[in-house]
């Protein structure tokens, strides 16, 4: 069953990739669009339906600690004691991921079917998009690091192909290359970490495997149960995985590719560069959470990088004028939040934010795509304004997304962000002051988030209509998706609402953005009912060891139970009819115990912090509304508009030197002088030799005859001297 979830999109990709061109030649653009769009959406639809079905009918009914379904196809690599299987693992963590990947993915496919209308590369686009779905699902369902890496690289490839989708547009091509190269830097860390995991633990699998007739526990379980592994090794592994994550999830220092990746079509930005692929880094960290909880240094690095990225990107986002760039920096910033959550040990909160973010950021990107579509490929917000009148559905849905991302109370983003902030404040993974300092950073970021999103809404939908104004203020740096589609740039018609293919996904995503957060309402806000989402995910991720806990012996046991569910589970061993009730009872008991353990006043504090987050969000919204309604064309400080000149900095310190070294060192000296010299030298040597030998070839037959005679005389002379000479002697 799992395999069809993964392979359905691949089938779609193969059909569209191999036959799309023929369809186009035979049926013409219009029918091809229908056919290709249908195949693409149907394949993802099948995948989404199966994912939902497996999740509801097979994963959920399992008892709480044993929720893992594995599917083994074949042993992929087996060298000595190294074994990598082509096998899938579905547990709560990957379950959540496949649900929102296929769900949001389906909506975006449908949207894209409308958005890409009229594009001659329609089939190519959907081939890549389906391939992406396949790779992403492989990534999250893989049961070992190597297969995960296949998906990891696969989504990187699809990202490259789709960023550079407008192949005739230089900007898109270089953005694609930039994304690819920066991801390679991260992948280097990933690979080294994988090697380290293998040499340290003898397995790279997430589940217990039978290798050469020997039961080998997953490396995660080994980390949790054996105290023998050197802390330094664990820290190295954790940090190297995090290097991989910074590449894929656009964290400092490897974040600059993501804003440039907006050169791709907008549905791609929504699917790959907001909702799914960029959260793979968070997935990796959460998946390897047992390693992280044992490596406090790595945790601190993750938390600090996350918080720094969050505030860094948010401040840049406030100064951008390209609607997609604002959202791109917002994505980087929100990813920073997710890593902040992981770094303070709240992996579940991080995944929760991944999910809600997938909803509202996909919504915002698709909304911006709808705006760009309606404005005939205008992306500069300074030339928008007053669009509410023309695009009511887009406006209403974007409005929801705006509230959700800003953390407006009771929207999805509110719950996840509040959870992260609270966990940051109350973290036990870091020294107390650190948690508080990071909380301040996170809180400021929350305010800035509300401000820049308000700015986006004000500049785009409200206020004066600016799109009719004279165009002589044409800004050279403004981005235009002038690549493949439309092309009619310069004179705008009236802005118009997009078709139903585009608005329906927007509406569904808006609904999800409102209600998506209710699966993870914290206990403090729901009158003691345990946080369902956290409860559900807990078996998949490691919990922090309570350093301050009174019972010192208990934590390792608890940790083992979480990492390896075959061990002692908190739920009683009941089967059949009583199983569900038993599990619920166990869960409630566990939650109660935890609440009791944390103490009563913590709940009070948590409520207080929820109130603070709400106030912060409202503050940001109010400030944004007041400020930007008055002067929507406010110019941000130059440094912010220039994105802190990070790209320039990288150009000067990395790209430039590498280029110079390659040109003046590797090319002009090593290649031209040494390598070419060697090759040409050998050729010249043989040419000289041949030139000398040429003189023996006179071309006169009699000369050759003379040589034959000479040879004959020598041979005969030899025989006379040696053979007959001996006879004569006898």
């Amino acid at each position: 069953m799992l395999k069809w979830i993964v392979f359905a999109p691949l089938i779609g990709a193969i059909i569209n990739g191999l036959f799309g061109r023929r369809f186009l030649a035979h049926f013409g653009q219009k029918a091809t669009e229908k056919l290709v769009g249908f195949i693409a959406c149907a394949s993802v639809g099948v995948s989404a339906a199966l994912a939902g079905m497996v999740f509801l009918t097979r994963l959920l009914p399992l008892p709480k600690g044993e929720r893992r379904i594995t599917e083994h196809f074949f042993t992929w690599l087996k060298v000595g004691s190294f074994q990598a299987d082509f096998a899938y693992l579905l547990d709560p963590l990957s379950g959540v991921y496949i649900l929102f990947i296929t769900g949001v993915g389906l909506l975006i496919h449908i949207y894209a079917a409308g958005y890409m209308h009229g594009d001659p590369g329609y089939y190519r686009f959907f081939c890549y998009l389906n391939l992406f779905m396949f790779m992403m699902l492989t990534l999250v369902l893989a049961d070992n690091l190597l297969l995960l890496f296949v998906g990891w690289e696969g989504v990187g490839l699809c990202s490259y192909l789709l960023i550079g989708y407008y192949i005739k547009w230089d900007v898109a091509g270089s953005a694609a290359k930039k994304a690819f190269v920066m991801n390679r830097i991260g992948d280097f860390g990933f690979m080294i970490a994988t090697f380290l995991v293998f040499t340290t633990f003898g397995t790279i699998s997430f589940v217990t495997k039978n290798i050469n007739g020997q039961e080998v526990q997953s490396f995660l379980a080994q980390v949790a149960s054996s105290p023998t592994v050197a802390a330094g090794t664990l820290t190295a592994i954790a940090l190297l995985f995090f290097v991989g994550a910074t590449g894929k999830s656009a964290q400092i220092p490897l974040f600059t590719w993501l804003p440039d990746a907006m050169a791709g079509p907008t549905p791609v930005s929504a699917l790959i560069h907001a909702a799914t692929m960029v959260t793979a880094g968070v997935y990796l960290v959460a998946r390897c959470s047992p390693v992280y909880v044992k490596a406090p240094t790595a945790m601190a690095v993750v938390a600090v990088i996350g918080a720094a990225t969050a505030i860094f990107a948010a401040t840049i986002g406030i100064a951008q004028n390209d609607i997609k760039k604002v959202l791109a920096y917002s994505t980087v910033s929100q990813l920073g939040y997710m890593f902040l959550a992981c770094g303070v040990g709240a992996f579940v909160a991080g995944i929760f934010h991944v999910m809600t973010h997938a909803f509202f950021k996909a919504l915002l990107f698709l909304g911006s795509g709808s705006v760009i579509h309606g404005m005939n490929n205008e992306q500069d917000m300074r030339r928008m304004g007053g669009l509410k009148k023309y695009m009511q559905i887009t406006h209403a849905t974007m409005f929801v997304g705006w509230l959700a991302i800003s953390g407006f109370p009771l929207m999805s983003g509110f719950f996840s962000k509040d959870e992260i902030l609270w966990r940051t404040w109350s973290t036990e993974a870091l020294p107390h002051n650190w948690g508080r300092a990071l909380w301040v950073v996170g809180a400021i970021t929350a305010v800035i988030t509300a401000v820049y999103m308000t700015r986006l809404m004000v500049m785009t939908f409200w206020g004066r209509e600016r799109f009719t104004e004279a165009r002589d203020d044409h800004h050279a740096g403004a981005g235009h998706a002038s690549g493949g589609h439309g092309g009619g740039h310069g004179h705008h018609g009236r802005p118009h609402e997009s078709g139903w293919l585009m608005t329906v996904p927007l509406i569904i995503l808006a609904v999800l953005s409102i209600f998506g957060g209710y699966v993870g309402v914290p206990a403090a806000l729901s009158m003691g009912r345990p946080n369902y989402f956290e409860d559900f995910l807990k078996p998949s991720v490691a919990q922090l060891e309570h350093a301050t806990a009174t019972h010192a012996a208990a934590p390792p046991a608890a940790l083992m139970a979480q990492s390896e569910p075959h061990g002692a589970t908190p739920a009683p061993e009941s089967h059949g009819a009583g199983a569900t009730a038993g599990a619920t009872a166990g869960a409630t008991a566990g939650a109660t115990a935890q609440t009791a353990h944390e103490g009563g006043h913590d709940v009070e504090t948590e409520r207080l912090f929820t109130a603070i987050s709400s106030v912060l969000a409202l503050l940001g919204l109010a400030f944004g509304l007041v400020f930007f309604k008055r002067n929507p064309l406010w110019r941000a400080p130059k440094l912010l508009e220039d994105k802190y000149r990070v790209d320039e900095f990288y150009d000067a310190t990395v790209v430039g030197p590498v280029e110079n070294l390659s040109r003046d060192g590797l090319w002009k000296v090593v290649d031209v002088k040494i390598i070419d010299g060697l090759v040409n030298g050998v050729a010249r040597l043989f040419a000289a030799l041949a030139g000398a030998l040429r003189y023996t070839q006179t071309g006169f037959a009699r000369n050759y005859a003379a040589v034959i005679l000479l040879g004959a005389i020598i041979v005969i002379g030899y025989f006379i001297v040696s053979v007959f000479g001996i006879r004569i002697n006898i």
């Binding site: 040429r694 006179t698 071309g699 006169f700 037959a701 009699r702 005859a705 005679l709």
Partner: protein, 100 residues
């Protein structure tokens, strides 16, 4: 009876004349005749040995050599005629198409 060494000496002298002729002659017909001379020098020594050992194998060889020589003469003369027709010369040094 004529001793064997006389036959062999004659054969060697004829063969050497043939070889030297091949090496120094430029006229293709002279070359051709020198080759025939070498063949027949060998024939003489074959006959001589055949007689010495009272064995006909050597004579059979001579027949084969004569047959081959006849075939060679036919082909060779044809080539010479073709060569003369195209180049109007019998000097082998001028047939140097293969030379670089």
């Amino acid at each position: 009876m004529v001793p064997l060494s006389w036959y062999l000496a004659l054969s060697a002298v004829l063969f050497t004349i043939g070889v030297i002729g091949v090496l120094i002659q430029r006229n293709v017909i002279s070359l051709f005749m020198c080759v025939e001379l070498m063949l027949n020098a060998v024939n003489i020594s074959l006959i001589a040995f055949s007689r010495l050992h009272a064995n006909v194998t050597g004579q059979l060889f001579v027949f084969i050599v004569m047959a081959v020589a006849a075939a060679e003469a036919a082909v060779g003369l044809a080539i010479i005629i073709a060569l003369f027709r195209s180049r109007e010369t019998l000097n082998v040094d001028e047939a140097d198409l293969l030379k670089l």
